[in-house]
Symmetry: C2
Subunit: 355 residues, 2 copies
DNA sequence: TGTTAGCACTCGTACGTCGAGAGTGCTAAA
DNA sequence: TTTAGCACTCTCGACGTACGAGTGCTAACA
């Protein structure tokens, strides 16, 4: 692949032909011949002329041939150019919009996240991914303790974005139900509106400063909070629809399929990948060399952040072979990002107003 | 495949040879030749003699040839016979036992279930499956309500087996925190020890009978309980490690791989399949024709129930190609069934003693 | 009568060849 | 600058062949 010529060097005709090749390839999954562009294309040029242009485009790094007597296939650079300045985003059909809105309306935050990843995969026919917020960054809405058995207590943590997490605590002594209730109230009132991270720091300060004059209940409350709010810190990730990729024609090689599944099993890596799309607040696309994972599998990622108000909570997107219907899929991801943000806000409105 | 000869017709030598073929095939995944049995086998017979016996075994339905000049492959009947009366269960290594016990020790019931399915898949190198209890059949330990925002309340349901479920309720009016606390207490005290199904019936009766003389709080409590305890009824299912099957040599055909993933995506069918193993309380094995799913994929299922005390909570097991190390895998499933039961009992002991 | 050696036979696989077809690159003419 | 024509290259499937693995059968042997 030689150096990529500045796109100013491309004449409108070059661009038109390149666009034709890309769009045809995206639909057919087969190398595109000069003849088919000549026949199908809107500009009435002969195959020979097209061939000349295609030879140039290959030289400039936008096309390549799998072998000498095959048609041409777009390169990563071509996809970039296509997305940046050639494609025309197709509006998400009203039917799909309605379908998405309806499905995102039900359930708690976790369920909504699951639905979102499923919708992504179903409608894009790629793999849908949702990165859920790291618990440490979420704002506390309420804490509650439920006695489970003897000295065991279930701690329920509700974030202002509607996420619920729970954890079983093992205490040193049995605590009566109503005292647990008082502690829940106290903690919720003192800490609601702060992130778990902030709370944890404040707890440490409290323990250090007031150690002397603490009454028993306060001490207990602090101890319970310390244990209960110490939830796993990392963001979660939902992956949906990996098997659906098996129906794509490029997925014939078992080894490739295997590498793909292995990559999808490495959640931490996926989170890192998706979070590369956090900058800015629109849809971002990573193709091929843009990341180690996409180049390894020859995949693309289309992702966008979502959140409540101005607070970014996580990322959502799709991943699949670079040959992907960007015109359809980019608006879809965009819409789902907004729909998810809206769904979270609707269901848990009035969440961030405290403090 | 002709009729299967009564196993009494098999001489000890026949059985020995059949066993050799099966065990060799399980390890090699390739049709077993008479020569390799003659060389490897403990009985010092020539290949020709082995051939005669193998021809008989084929006639009786225990072996088959993929094609004329290939070695022999065990049939479903052979696996059945092998498991029933020829194989010698290999004890789960102490290292693995320890590994299992340690990993199952942490977390709430949901986490433990997830760990169990993961351990199954990791240690068997097959797909691990755990069917979790249907919520309607679990015994209530505690209910609790946490205000979330305005008229929204989070209902937390804790079962005596340690499962936690939660659901957001939308109420008609805002209810103060302490009243919610009283309602939680009341409901927990009146209903703990009964299954959700029983509770639902009793609630209906209460609503019908006492409609006249109900005070406001009682009415509220009943309404909250009705909404909050109306959780999805069906059992859940966890599937872990499907991609690991891709490394098995029989998984070369993309179409087969696809059918496999599609089958695994059909949770309801998997639950039905696993629950075929509920009778009795030991490990059960389904091979080939024993069920539509196993015959369709040429897979086997090794599964066992688990529970607390005498109460069966669900099923756990593995699924994978019929060529599977039964000698190792059956004891593994057995042990994991017991370990999971123990883990649940340990973590939530004293759970079923009420009522 | 059971066991074994020998041998012909079958079948799948690997390999090389061949021809068809698709697509290109180049050249020369319009 | 565009196009028609043509030779060239490469893939793919069909076909034939050689080879090897493994069997089934038969006849000899213990």
């Amino acid at each position: 692949m030689t150096e990529i010529r500045d796109l100013s060097k491309l004449t409108p005709r070059d661009r038109e032909i390149l666009k034709d090749v890309i769009m045809t390839y995206i639909l057919s999954a087969e190398p595109v011949s000069s003849r088919s562009v000549s026949k199908h294309g809107r500009l009435g040029l002969s195959a020979a002329t097209i061939r000349n242009v295609m030879a140039d485009l290959e030289e400039w790094g936008y096309l390549m041939q799998p072998h000498t007597s095959a048609g041409r296939v777009p390169t990563t650079a071509a996809y970039h150019l296509f997305i940046q300045s050639m494609m025309q985003a197709r509006k998400v059909p009203a039917r799909e919009r309605r379908y998405i809105e309806e499905n995102l309306r039900t359930g708690d935050a976790d369920q909504i996240m699951g639905t979102a990843s499923h919708l992504l995969s179903e409608l894009s026919r790629q793999v849908g991914i949702v990165v859920t917020p790291a618990v440490g960054d979420t704002v506390l809405r309420a804490v509650d303790f439920v006695p489970v058995s003897g000295r065991r207590v279930l701690c329920v943590v509700v974030s202002s974005t509607g996420f619920v997490d729970n954890k079983i605590l093992e205490l040193e002594e049995e605590i009566p139900r109503d005292e647990l209730g008082r502690i829940s109230n106290y903690l919720t009132e003192s800490f609601a509106g702060q992130t778990l991270r902030q709370i944890r720091e404040r707890l440490l300060r409290m323990m250090a400063e007031e150690r002397a004059q603490m009454d028993r209940m306060l001490a207990l409350a602090i101890e319970l909070a310390r244990q209960g709010l110490d939830l796993p810190a990392g963001p979660g990730i939902l992956v949906d629809g990996a098997p659906s990729l098996l129906s794509h024609p490029e997925m014939t090689d078992i080894q490739r399929v295997r590498r793909m599944f292995e990559a999808f099993a490495d959640k931490a890596r996926l989170v890192r990948l998706l979070n590369q799309c956090l900058q800015g607040n629109g849809v971002r696309v990573l193709i091929g060399d843009d990341s180690d994972l996409t180049s390894e599998l020859d995949f693309s990622v289309v992702a966008t952040p979502y959140g409540m108000g101005d607070q970014t909570l996580g990322t959502l997107g799709i991943i699949g072979p670079s040959r992907m219907e960007y015109e359809r899929v980019i608006p879809l991801v965009h819409f789902l990002g907004e729909a998810l943000s809206r769904a979270l806000a609707d269901t848990f409105s009035g969440g961030a107003e405290r403090k």
